[in-house]
Symmetry: C2
Subunit: 289 residues, 2 copies
């Protein structure tokens, strides 16, 4: 007997941008006879998603989009969840699975547990795929292939729900790592949110003559700064406490370097640079997440 | 009548690593009947450079390597220039052109003007090409193609020398921008040296579980941190004053962001992120330097 959860027959994607659109394309390829419903507040986006084949039906009201779906995925910016969840709550099937793709997890998990009719049937997800591009026109069926999806169950999450949601992400080619919402936000602040803030700051301090001299190193180091400002504002606001802790740790490292430079302590500077280089080189040797 | 400077007939490359080796390969392809001499302190490096065809003759004493050359290029780490220039000074042809490939320019220009027999025949160069790789085994004839070379003449530099050195870099496919040594070090601190320090600091603050979650954004943002530690230590020590100024400007930007987060000022945070994103996106549209 096959104990794997049944794949969903009807999926609702709330927000059909790069991630939502890619989920539609990937689910259509991975799951046979699965109907995909999209919600968006802009008609042009919905039309583009329909035309691209990312969704089968489009709605401009979230409560209409979730009716009858057995998997509902929140793909709007995290800042909208507080308004979106109460809208969909009354319209959900009692046994619908609900998840999201937000880049921070504490607040959405909180909101879901407070506002959903059956919090046990929610689990937070963070599929780590995407790019600085935005919009359904960049959606790809293989966006998730071999990438990592972080799931953030709580004691309230039903084990079968966790299994079913993870099974869905696996069917899109993802590998799963489970974290608490708190661990997620703390680790992601250091490895994703702070690097974004730093990249934006590195761009901000440049003079125009300096920018004209930028080489590949600068372009690589600041690529993420081209990301969507509204999306990152929401992430920063949601995760401000962890972002602050990370920024202070970064400042300590730079202060340490400046002190070593004052002391002309070349050996310790070299050791510091070598430790970072060794750690960074190790990362090249593993498969991308 | 052709007013372009005559190409060199004999070039000495002091230090045959990635840059020195690539200059040898590129010059051989660009300049017919040009003899290329290499100096290095390790026999294996010289043998590898000979085998690769990056140099025609190898010497393990710099004064022997420069004898009879009309173009001498210092390609060792900048920290060695103080020892190297006095060694070669007595052996140079009176009309030899001397340049370098150092990533900082004030100190080498100073040393050259103090220690060379004919400072008018020196001009500092900074060919902006390379990678986090090191060693002659990664040398490529096309390394410089379409990249920017910064030259840093001073009032002491003979105009004909500047023309001849720039003409050499152009023959390797480079575009030229002239700066004073002071401008060079100030601008490069912000656009290259500080980003390197920040990338190393971003790697240093991560926990192992955090590193396991790193995605493409983190890998891009920290790629430069894998660079050669000894080389970057020298750059940091040479340019510590400008690096400090840049680090303080970066701290001001991050403090500004943290204050906006405290105030939950989403609009100003979005404006700040949008300004950085707009600047960064503009950079994608121009040819790489």
């Amino acid at each position: 007997m096959d104990n794997r959860p049944n794949p969903p027959r009807k999926i609702t994607i709330l927000g059909v941008g790069l991630l939502g659109g890619s989920i539609g394309l990937a689910a259509r390829r991975a799951i046979s006879a699965c109907k995909i419903i999209g919600y968006g507040h802009r008609r042009e986006t919905l039309d583009a998603a329909l035309k691209k084949g990312a969704i089968d039906e489009a709605f401009d009201q979230p409560e209409n989009a979730v009716a009858g779906s057995d998997l509902v995925i929140l793909c709007t910016p995290v800042g909208i969840f507080g308004k979106l969840i109460p809208q969909i709550a009354p319209a959900l099937l009692p046994d619908a699975l609900v998840t999201d793709v937000g880049s921070t997890k504490r607040s959405v998990v909180d909101l879901a547990q407070k506002l959903l009719p059956n919090p046990a049937r929610f689990v937070g997800s963070h599929p780590m795929a995407g790019s600085e591009k935005r919009g359904v026109e960049f959606a790809r069926a293989d966006l998730f292939q071999n990438h990592l999806c972080l799931t953030t169950p709580t004691p309230q999450t039903a084990p079968a729900v966790l299994e079913a949601v993870e099974s869905f992400w696996r069917s899109l080619g993802m590998k799963i790592t489970r974290l608490t919402p708190q661990e997620h936000d703390r680790l992601l602040a250091d490895v994703s949110h702070l690097p974004h803030a730093v990249a934006a700051a590195l761009v901000a301090i440049q003079s125009e003559p300096g920018l004209a001299l930028a080489g590949k190193g600068f372009l690589d180091a600041t690529r993420i700064a081209a990301g969507d400002a509204a999306l990152w504002r929401d992430i920063f606001l949601e995760n401000h406490d962890n972002l602050r802790t990370g920024a202070l740790a970064l400042r300590d490292q730079l202060d340490h370097l400046l002190k070593l430079l004052d002391a002309k302590d070349g050996q310790t500077i070299k050791d510091w640079l070598e430790a970072a280089a060794a750690r960074r080189k190790l990362m090249e040797k593993r498969p991308p997440t």
